[in-house]
């Protein structure tokens, strides 16, 4: 049985992208001091969306200085007033959520279904959640009068551009810090639109500063001597470099890094639900998710049954125009990322794992990668160890719960894990033994502003979200 869908594109007329954008410093947009710019493209079509300023050291310095000037009055505001600004921002984000969803889909390449139903609702919810904390910090368990740190330098990735911005900026502002944020090089637009949201919410100038650029801009921000707090989400390699950079300083550091999450399916799991969880775990956002369930550990006795159902399901996924409301799989974010995924998949084949993808026509322009399974994967294979950050699932098997735990924990990462079984005591026993910051039992890839998120081991340290997320921005 086949389903045919008529195209159902979301209109891009709702978003008005300017031909160029400057840096947002001290409440104004301005060009980079040296006038450098770079282009941001739509990964689905390779269309140039806009030209964005490349911030150099001088610009980072100006942004940090603006944040420093704003800090005294922002941190001195009564918490209730700071909170009201955040509530305003949350409301403006809700009002403009369709516009921002379309923008995010254009700049990132992910399906509109996701930006509309996950990213944007979570973004607004995150500001709403932390807005409420601003005047309740004395009750958060960090002492009677916890103090902000000062200027926060924040560097975020391209996989959830606006949501990662929200995870960074909302708790920072609620606790009284001011921020300089650098969005990812390939997805700068939603952060620049957020700057406009701040202006419309009447946020005092200098409280939020946005500096666009590449890794050099991020490195300058992290190394800036007048930054008190560094928060980074991205690769483990860069995270380690940042940890070295802040060594010997008083900068507080939190890192949310890579992962190689195990999604563990026991023989008593309801197969159809588990399959939905496996698909969500690795194909949500094209697998470009640090907490992706990129290793499927399936109990040997149900391997064939689960794999058959999984392959059937993958055959129904729709890959294509990210703005189409029926699209399940969008574009890979950049040519560079596509090359990395392609190379790792080739390594998987070269090392002897068996590759499978559903019949899937890829668009002729843009960056695309078909949903891919590898079977016959051993723990020694590169694709079982390295974070691929793409729609590639490595399938391994196990016989006993102990073996599942040992295999799941056999990684330097420790961000996420999934457990699928009907047996409650087994869920709890497994959950307690898995060395991962988030464990999804009979579900996967669920997020909420109230729920702390972050890694064990080389997946980083510190938590974002919930009461725990305040700690990263307080002098405690």
């Amino acid at each position: 049985m086949g389903f045919d869908y008529a195209p159902a594109p979301e209109s891009r007329a709702i978003v008005d992208i300017a031909p160029s954008y400057g840096l947002f410093i001290d409440g104004e947009f301005r060009e980079a001091a040296d006038g450098k710019v770079f282009k941001t493209v739509a990964p689905a079509t390779e269309e140039v969306l806009s030209e964005v300023a490349q911030a150099g050291e001088e610009d980072v310095d100006a942004a940090v200085a603006a944040a420093r000037r704003a800090f005294a009055s922002w941190s001195a505001l009564p918490g209730a007033e700071r909170g009201k600004y955040l509530f305003r921002i949350a409301r403006v984000l809700q009002e403009r959520s369709r516009e921002l969803a379309v923008l995010e889909t254009l700049d990132n390449g992910k399906p509109i279904k996701e930006t509309r139903d996950v990213d944007l609702p979570q973004v607004a919810a995150h500001f709403f959640y932390y807005a409420g904390w601003a005047d309740k910090l004395a009750h958060a368990g960090y002492g009677p009068s916890p103090r902000p740190l000062g200027v926060a330098g924040q560097v975020i990735p391209w996989n959830f551009p606006l949501l990662m911005l929200a995870w960074k900026i909302a708790p920072a502002l609620a606790t009284g810090n001011t921020v300089v944020l650098k969005p990812a090089e390939t997805t700068p637009l939603s952060a620049l639109f957020f700057a406009d949201v701040c202006r419309r919410a009447g946020l005092p100038k200098g409280v939020v500063n946005i500096v666009t650029g590449d890794g050099r801009t991020g490195a300058a921000l992290v190394a800036h001597p007048d930054v008190n707090k560094v928060a980074f989400t991205g690769s483990t390699g860069v995270g380690k470099q940042i940890a070295r950079t802040v060594a010997g300083t008083s900068k507080k550091l939190t890192l949310e890094l890579g992962g190689k999450g195990a999604n563990i399916v026991f023989d008593d799991a309801p197969v159809d639900q588990a399959v939905e969880g496996i698909v969500n775990g690795i194909f949500f956002n094209q697998g470009q998710v640090c907490c992706a369930g990129s290793r499927l550990l399936v109990q040997e006795s149900v391997r064939d049954e689960v794999l058959d159902a999984l392959k059937r399901r993958l055959g129904t996924l729709r890959l294509g125009d990210p703005l189409d409301k029926n699209t399940d799989i969008g574009a890979i974010n950049s040519a560079e990322q596509l090359a990395r995924i392609t190379a790792l998949a080739e390594t998987g084949e070269a090392e002897g794992a068996e590759r499978w993808s559903p019949a899937c026509e890829l668009p002729s322009s843009g960056y695309w990668f078909a949903p891919t399974l590898f079977t016959g994967v051993s723990q020694a294979h590169t694709i079982a160890r390295d974070e691929i950050f793409g729609p590639v699932l490595s399938v391994l098997t196990f016989r006993t719960p102990d073996e599942a735990v040992a295999k799941a924990n056999n990684t330097p990462y420790g961000l996420s894990a999934g457990i699928w079984t009907e047996k409650g005591s087994r869920i709890l026993a497994m959950a307690s033994k898995l060395r991962a910051g988030v464990v999804w039992a009979n579900t996967f890839n669920k997020f909420d502003p109230t729920s702390p998120f972050g890694g064990y081991k080389e997946s980083g340290f510190g938590r974002e979200g919930g009461r725990h997320g305040l700690e990263a921005y307080l002098d405690v």
Binding site: L255, S451, H468
Partner: protein, 297 residues
Amino acid sequence: MSERPERLAVLKTYKLFVGGKFPRSESGRVYEVTDSKGRLLANAPLASRKDARDAVGAARKAFGGWSGATAYNRGQVLYRVAEMLEGRREQFTAEVAAGSGISRAKAAAEVDAAIDRWVWYAGWSDKIAQVAGGANPVAGPFFNLSTPEPTGVVAVLAPQDSALLGLVSVVAPAIVTGNTVVVAANEKAPLPALSLAEVLATSDVPGGVVNVLSGRTAELGAPLAAHQDVNAIDLAGADAELAKELQIAAADNLKRVVRPRAERWTTDPGTDRMLAFLETKTVWHPTGSLGASGSAY
């Protein structure tokens, strides 16, 4: 009848404490520990990089059992340490007074504070999870619970300004939550630390949960900070220069780091040092419904 000669005291050979045993340094090295006037107190083992690695291995081996013990049990064990220490107050007072060059009265006060600190942390074992964790009211049909869990193997450079109280103040908060520890003792005054190992060995602390090394802090800090099976490091006993160097090494496997800072070991320690070596794990499960269809998903 001739007068009996004055009894000759039996001196103690101070040894390392690794995996519940008391080995000498594999290097065969010792260094002279003196009092504040330069008089020889004892020879202490001058532990090597190899000793540090052995200690990490012992700590890793002990982690599963200790972190898997009930919080109540860990609390009982820490309280037992306080009991054992109380019984050896005189010995520790003498060692602290001699090693730190302080008066007997001041040393006695430090020993008392150290005993009381074990009691303070013993009581935390089954409370910290309630303070640091909790249920999260997510916007959806899910049960969602955050629980603190021990980070793993923690390397500790004991403070240089307080041979016993400082040591207890950095070791107890790490182990009470289920971590295991390799501690480099106060460099100049290691004897209270080595004697504390004897107390731990007779307090139901499982072997390998605390491993005590004496020697040069910088020499031991380097392999501990670089060790890929150490999860965290407390740099209390490092000076600024060493701390920077060790933080750079610790970045290789993203150890959790507690930087050195001005400390007053006599004040209320708070929860900082426990929280520094805890990971927050958040578990989700659908709550579903109890509809007639029977599905809970």
